[in-house]
């Protein structure tokens, strides 16, 4: 089996700085022959040292063009969208680009704004999708709330980073075009703005990578089964990318190519939307306190908090009749923040108006909003709740509807379960080892 190696290289930057061909020729002289490339990686195969001439090209690879290149001794190596790399074993072969102005014009077209602008639109559509499906969350602006809903904040983080990344991509392409236009008009190239935007673009890509690592780890913690879904998703995206970037550019351009491209983009959007909304059911291995066959279990993990929840709804699934949630936090500090946040949240819930009251207010004031019931601070909130003391736990507050308990890094929330000795029973159930 022949040896291969990968080299990290920003293709766009290398092309703008006119360094790609020189680098590939140097690698070939050391016996590393290019076999594939993407926007960030070059893949080489080990062979005997050779004196190869490499040329980059942006022309549509029509049959006529391919034949002409073959006649001149050029072999196709690989392509990534409209950028193709050819090699020739005759180092004195005719250059593919013999006119500097034409080369610069082709480069200006390569630094197109079409793709980055398309990404911005796709990002915006995803955001609208999430907004309309009411995945946006509301709650008190506490640290505990952020810890609890880290997954949602990470999705915001992804959308914002992706948006910034696309904007930076537009900026770096505009900066590249500016520099190339200067060259066309026989002025000194101005590469500094491109270099700055390029560096910032890289940082934003690293942030997106962090999101995907986070997403992968949290899914792994919830269920190994979900990893199968993620792997499947990666394979589908890779195949789509492969079709879009490789195969489509190697067939005759025309309306079929345009149609296929549109189809691939639409498919990609729909598959991503489908998977982004997929919830994987998880079989629970812990029993809840409440005993009812219709209890719905749910497990989630956001790296800071692993939650087991059980809920019992009415027949129409509109109201939660009973609810239990045991949250295992990363450390005591996070647990305390989550505990305090829950108290703030449920204390407000107790002050929430009934449907009749809302109707009355609406009639009087013509409008009503959730913001009319403000969140209290933690200190104010505990004044409106009762204290329960038990040696098994650190802290516990309750009211008519809810019990919220804290023990080390564990937070327990039990909702709507009035019965005799309920407090003792539930604390014993969860905290007696």
């Amino acid at each position: 089996m022949s040896k291969t190696k990968y080299k990290f290289l920003q293709i766009k930057k290398a092309i703008l700085y006119n360094e790609l061909e020189t680098l590939l020729e140097k690698e070939a002289r050391n016996g590393w022959i290019l076999i594939q490339f993407t926007n960030y990686f070059l893949k080489f195969k080990k062979d005997k040292p050779m004196n190869i001439k490499y040329q980059i090209d942006f022309s549509s690879p029509t049959l006529e063009y391919k034949e002409l290149l073959k006649y001149e001794g050029y072999e196709f190596v690989d392509n990534n969208e409209e950028l193709s790399i050819y090699k020739n074993h005759n180092h004195y072969a005719q250059e593919l680009q013999t006119d500097e102005t034409t080369r610069l014009l082709a480069l200006i077209k390569y630094f197109s704004l079409k793709h980055p602008l398309l990404y911005i639109i796709v990002d915006f559509l995803f955001f609208l999708f999430i907004y309309f499906f009411k995945l946006l969350i509301s709650g008190p602006k506490t640290l505990g709330h952020i810890y609890e809903t880290l997954g949602f904040y990470m999705i915001y983080f992804f959308f914002i980073t992706f948006f910034v990344c696309s904007i930076l991509n537009v900026c770096q392409n505009v900066a590249a075009k500016y520099s190339l236009n200067r060259e066309i008009h026989h002025k000194e190239p101005c590469l500094l703005p491109f270099t700055i935007f390029n560096k910032l673009y890289d940082v934003s890509l690293v942030l997106i990578l962090i999101f995907f690592i986070y997403f992968f780890i949290t899914r792994l913690l919830v269920s190994p089964f979900s990893i199968g879904i993620i792997v499947l998703l990666i394979i589908v995206i890779y195949l789509i990318q492969y079709i879009y970037k490789k195969i489509l550019y190697q067939i005759e351009p025309g309306w079929i190519q345009k149609l296929l491209k549109t189809f691939v983009i639409i498919t990609c959007i729909f598959i991503s939307i489908y998977f982004s909304n997929t919830e994987i059911p998880v079989i629970m291995d812990t029993t809840p306190y409440m005993s009812d066959s219709n209890v719905t279990p749910e497990k989630s993990n956001n790296l800071l908090i692993a939650s087991n929840t059980w809920s019992l709804s009415n027949d129409n699934q509109t109201d939660t009749l009973k609810y239990e949630s045991i949250n295992s936090c990363l450390n005591k500090d996070i647990a305390l923040e989550v505990f305090q946040n829950k108290i703030i949240d449920y204390e407000r819930e107790a002050r929430m108006f009934t449907d009749e009251e809302i109707e009355k207010i609406t009639e009087e004031n013509e409008s009503w909003s959730l913001n009319d019931v403000p969140y209290f601070s933690y200190e104010q909130a505990i004044q409106h709740m009762s204290v329960y003391q038990n040696s098994l736990i650190d802290q516990c507050y309750y009211n008519d509807d809810v019990v919220i308990a804290l023990k080390d890094n564990i937070v327990l929330i039990c909702y709507n379960q009035p019965e005799d000795n309920y407090m003792d029973n539930i604390i014993n159930h969860y905290f007696t080892k």
Binding site: Q55, Y65, L68, Y74, Q94, R103
Partner: protein, 104 residues
């Protein structure tokens, strides 16, 4: 930018348009330019196939027919006008050069 791309023709652009006064496909264009310039101007395949669609877009050349998957192009009246404009520009340059020579 597109409208200003061919404000001034480079020698390669000029010769491609020049040889297309009769219908020709890509490879013939490259050969013909080498022949009439005694190999002084060589057109690279990448340069030629970057320029042909752009010239077509500007209506300087048109696709006459396709034979064995080879596209055959020919100069349009607009392309001829562009060449004549280029001729005027070059004549002006020569005239200026002559005037400098006379002064000497």
């Amino acid at each position: 930018m597109a409208r200003r791309e061919f404000e001034t023709l480079t020698p390669q652009m000029f010769y491609i348009l020049l040889v297309l006064h009769k219908p020709m496909h890509g490879y013939d264009i490259m050969q013909e330019v080498s022949r009439i310039t005694n190999n002084e101007i060589q057109i690279g395949a990448g340069t030629l196939y970057t320029l042909l669609p752009r010239f077509e877009k500007e209506y300087y050349i048109e696709l006459v027919k396709e034979e064995n998957k080879r596209k055959i192009y020919q100069l349009t009246p607009l392309g001829k006008k562009k060449l004549l404009k280029e001729k005027d520009r070059m004549l002006k340059q020569i005239q200026l050069l002559d005037e400098i020579d006379k002064d000497k």
